[in-house]
Subunit: 303 residues, 2 copies
Amino acid sequence: MKFEVTILGSSSATPIFNRNPSSQVLNINEKFLMIDCGEGTQQQMLRFGIKYHKIDHIFISHLHGDHFFGLIGLLSSMHLNGRSKTLYLFGPPELQEILDLQFKHSNTILKFPIDFFATQVNQAEIILETNDFFVETFVLNHRIPCTGFKFLQKLKLRKIRKEMVNELEIPASYYPLLKRVIDFVDKEGKTHKAFDLTADPDVPRAYAYCSDTVADGSYIQHLKDVDTLYHESTFMHDMQDRAKETFHTTSLEAAQIANDMNVSKLLIGHFSARYRDLTPLLLEARSVFEETFLANEGETFMI
Amino acid sequence: MKFEVTILGSSSATPIFNRNPSSQVLNINEKFLMIDCGEGTQQQMLRFGIKYHKIDHIFISHLHGDHFFGLIGLLSSMHLNGRSKTLYLFGPPELQEILDLQFKHSNTILKFPIDFFATQVNQAEIILETNDFFVETFVLNHRIPCTGFKFLQKLKLRKIRKEMVNELEIPASYYPLLKRVIDFVDKEGKTHKAFDLTADPDVPRAYAYCSDTVADGSYIQHLKDVDTLYHESTFMHDMQDRAKETFHTTSLEAAQIANDMNVSKLLIGHFSARYRDLTPLLLEARSVFEETFLANEGETFMI
């Protein structure tokens, strides 16, 4: 099952050095989910060939502008492009008020419904469940309320061992039972263990998005089962004091979390405007956690 | 005196084909004034080397997103870049409410004051006067209240004819009087006409920005003294019905206005997403008014 993330923006606070503010698009089995939507995200979508109509879910971590100022423009463009299907929007409660006010003063009545889910700022929760995955929030520690998001594939049923079921001439109509580990009894009355006729399902994978936060360990319990971790990494570790003061994380701290939580891959982003060249941030993180990558715009990472 | 306009965006409604929504920067004698501020304007400023701190005045024509969704981001970036001097903002009254709400929910207390001037939606007025120029609004006819802006240089004092005043050994302290046409009497009691000792000042130039509007002639009285006219030109003339329906102007209509008002130069912009190639719009306008130019991003036009 496809599970990958494409980076649309990796700049903190202000756009600079051709880096745009935060936004990513997850593709989970051809469902496209957007995480954060800084200014210029719709321009980035055009640049990287991501169609507006593919996005049905948008998750906003918090109400600092570099994480949501592109949302109103994207919604407006969806409207002007004739969208009619529902858009599922998840974010802090105040987001609705901000959108409503702007649509009111531009006299815009959207051609499509927005189903808005106000995220809780004080506790983790499951905010979406589909056939294929869950989305959970968890609480980060930033200057204003901020949530992280975790995207977890569901455990699938066991897989049919084609060659064995063919040999036993088990009818296809029985496969769903086998997948649920219900044994098969043949014409001679002999029982064949469903467990032997099936194989383990793929291990569910998980992606976590740690938006702006100080690296205080309060949220790492939520990263236990994570394969690919995106973690903000605004500063290098020589700026640790500044990071704490502004409720941000250093590259080294992000790598320590990745290492402690034993993830497979770490993506770092949300880079401060002070770094034109990002190589030092990458090398600092890799000194602790080898499988670190820069969340560069336009790049797609398999999860 | 320098008087020129740089185009930052020329797309209507949605960004497309690398065209960004409306924004322009006027340079009047090294004062930089921004007109409209669609999403991504701050990215365009970076691209074309226009520094945030140079902008002290921003004029917003109306509250459709393609004309102001970039404003909140630009103001935030000015804040994060440590701006302390006042920013003079002119726009529809509701703009203040929209900005205030977003700053409130992001817990942002701007490091610089915004002096907000609410434009009137029903009548023309002078909204700014400096030593060098006036800015006037005039009422356009769009789906929501919308103003045009006219930037008029002031008539300067007469210019000293250096070779003549040197010959007569007139002290420099007397120049301001000559400029005000006060005659000079020399030691022998002979009167020298100030008018002869000075030359005509430069003819004041004017730039008008006609944002979204139907071309109904209601505002052309304000374009009489205009040298360079920017006029929206969303559609080609075969779409005139659609233009009227959406309160927009065709390329041909914009050219007719330029021709009727006898301006020197017409800039057309705010192009519909249906036109990838803009040449047909340009040719259509030039069939009526030769001195028409596409308001292409990054181009600077002398006024």
